[in-house]
Structures are given as structure tokens and as C-alpha cells.
Amino acid sequence: MTAAELYQMLRKVQEPKGYFFNQDRARTLDLLEGLLINKKRYGYMCCPCRLASGDRAKDADIICPCTYREPDVAEYGSCYCNLYVSQEWNQGQTPVVYVPERRPPEKMAF
């Protein structure tokens, strides 16, 4: 599957839930490419902006969409990677700030 195909497939599922891809298409496709790379490496789509442990169970919270997407988009208008954003974020109505890592350090499997 290509990043472009993944884009179309996910978009249909995620937009009705209120999660939109970053309108910066190149960046979005780059991140989706990262997901496909991690799928090949580890067997699951680990977040491209976090280091995978290789243990699916231990990384369950950072398999995209991660469990931190909801609170991050609610608070910052964007997930940690700037992959999923709110409509307001895409329309420039939300200040673009760096989304800090919400994952508790103790969750890290290494």
C-alpha cells in the first residue's frame, strides 16, 4: 500500500470522527510513509515520531492513532506528530504550538 492509498483509506474513517489530516499534504504523506515503514519493521503502525519498542503490547498506546491524539487535539488542535488536526487548526484559527510529549515516561518499554 502506498502513502496516498493509506491517506484515502484513513481519511474516510477519521474525518467523520472529527480528525482531519494536516493540510500540509507533503508532511502528511511523509508521516503516513513513516507509518508504513513502521508496519513493515514491527508489524504494527507505531507512531512515526516515537521510538517503538518492537513489543506490540507495550506499544499499544502509541499505535496510530495513539491514545494521546484525543486529548492533544482537544488541547492543541493537533496530535503529537501534527498528522491529525482539528478543522480549526487547518483553517489557521488555532495557534500552531509545539505539542509536548503526553506519554508518561513509565509507559516506555525500554
Partner: protein
């Protein structure tokens, strides 16, 4: 002599790519290690190294001399570089 600059990154991370791009645009000489491309003991060693500077072990983690910048924070990076 300017301070040593070292970047711990992930090859799939867009914030890390933005950080590299910024450093390149600023003409900064730096070492970069992409931890996700390393395996086994090397990877474990790097993870504990990153944790010394950034307990969250998140990326990018940028060292400028003894200063640590976590995340793609353009202003903080420029300030740390004295630019």
C-alpha cells in the same frame, strides 16, 4: 570554537526532519544519530544516553554544548545556538 551540537532523532519523525532542515539552513555543523535505525545493544545504549538528557526519551533531543532542547522549538534552538 562553537559548542558541539548533537541531534538524537528518528528517521520517520517530521519534527526531527524539521530540526535537521533548520540546522542546515543555519549552517550549523552537527552530529546526528537516528536511533530507530540502530538495533540491539547499540539502540539500548543510545536510549540510555538520550534518557540522561531527556527522561521522556522523546525526539528530537538536541544538545548544544550543555544545553538540551526537546522537540522542534525553533526559537529555543536559535537561542541555544546564540543566533
Amino acid at each position: 570554537m562553537s559548542e558541539p551540537v548533537k541531534l538524537y532523532a528518528l528517521s520517520t519523525c517530521s519534527h526531527c526532519k524539521n530540526t535537521k532542515k533548520l540546522l542546515d539552513e543555519l549552517g550549523v555543523k552537527y552530529d546526528v544519530v537516528e536511533v530507530d535505525l540502530c538495533q540491539g545493544d547499540e539502540r539500548d545504549r543510545l536510549v540510555s544516553e538520550v534518557k540522561k538528557y531527556n527522561p521522556n526519551c522523546s525526539f528530537p533531543t538536541l544538545l548544544v554544548g550543555d544545553k538540551v532542547i526537546v522537540g522542534y522549538r525553533e526559537q529555543d534552538i536559535k537561542e541555544a545556538l546564540g543566533l
